[in-house]
């Protein structure tokens, strides 16, 4: 699988997640074992109105989505992998009016579990938050074929790319 295919699959996957669409998440890049997502700034997700800083929950969703999508970049076939746990460290508030990026990496894949780490940062390169997570592999069979086809692009309606 090349990076263009990975990018297309991740984009299609993100597009099926209502909350990711609601937040306006986009895919910046995808490669073997890692990817980067972008969360644009929005006044709707402010958690601290006096400073206009966005709420940690939006960053949690960004990092959960990034970490949960990275399985597309490590597994040969698409499998839905539910989150087992996440541990988030919020190092500094995200500067308002600027996007937040999350780069997720799958650093260990076993038959049952995918171990991930993820860093959220802004344009100046400063780390806003960090997250480690584990995701359960429930197997391909647990993901309906129509949904798998939608993500990998075997659906005639979306075009075949794989």
């Amino acid at each position: 699988m090349n990076n263009e295919t990975r990018l297309r699959r991740v984009k299609r996957f993100i597009a099926t997640l209502n909350q990711a669409r609601e937040l306006g998440l986009t895919v910046t890049e995808a490669q073997e074992g890692s990817l980067t997502l972008c969360l644009p700034y929005s006044e709707r997700i402010i958690g601290y109105p006096d400073t206009r800083v966005i709420h940690g929950g939006a960053i949690t969703t960004l990092m959960d989505t990034a970490s949960g999508s990275v399985m597309i970049c490590v597994l040969p076939e698409f499998e839905l992998c539910p989150t087992l746990d996440l541990r988030m460290d919020y190092m500094r508030p995200a500067v308002p009016d600027k996007p937040v990026y999350a780069r997720a990496q799958a650093y260990r894949v076993t038959r049952n579990i995918i171990f991930t780490r993820c860093e959220a940062f802004q344009d100046d390169g400063e780390t806003v938050a960090q997250c480690v997570g584990t995701f359960m592999r429930i197997g391909q069979a647990a993901t309906p074929k129509s949904y798998r086809d939608l993500i990998v692009g075997n659906d005639p309606a979306t075009g075949d790319d794989s």
Binding site: L17, Q19, R44, G57, D64, R87, M88, Y147
Partner: protein
């Protein structure tokens, strides 16, 4: 904004509308809160925009996390541990069951209260309190009690 005046009003009346209206992210996910005596129950009514996994369909795990995080912060303000929205330091979240597309409830417990840091445990459930969909614990900084 959750000013001391809004906080005082909310503490006295148990009416959370003004407080929640002042926090955009609370409205974004649709967080609600009810007070029963001294106890607070947080609610997240079903909302299509909050869904993640479209197959089940299930609420996005990040929304469940954000809901629990915001619940813990409001809980700390209501228990007068801090006058302003406390800053979250870290958050550890275990997902136990899928959050289906119906209402989610959450309650909080203050595990440990130091001078500057509070540790809060949060439990979220749908069908039954005895079958939580997620548990979490969080550390918050309470650095501005005087201001």
């Amino acid at each position: 904004m959750t000013t001391p005046e809004v906080l005082k009003y909310t503490q006295e009346t148990g009416d959370f509308a003004r407080m929640l209206d002042g926090i955009p992210y609370a409205s974004f996910i649709g967080l609600q809160c009810d007070r029963f005596g001294d106890d607070l129950i947080f609610r997240l009514p079903p909302k299509d925009a909050n869904l993640g996994n479209p197959i089940l369909p299930a609420v996005h795990g990040g929304v469940i996390g954000g809901f629990m995080e915001m619940a813990a912060a409001i809980y700390l303000m209501m228990s007068q541990e801090t006058l302003r929205m406390p800053k979250i330091v870290d958050f550890s979240l275990d997902y136990l069951r899928a959050g289906l597309n119906r209402e989610i409830f959450a309650e909080c417990h203050l595990t440990r209260q130091g001078n500057r840091v509070a540790n809060v445990m949060i439990t979220a459930w749908q069908k039954s309190r005895s079958q939580p969909i997620a548990t979490a614990r969080a550390h918050f900084l309470l650095d501005d009690k005087e201001t």
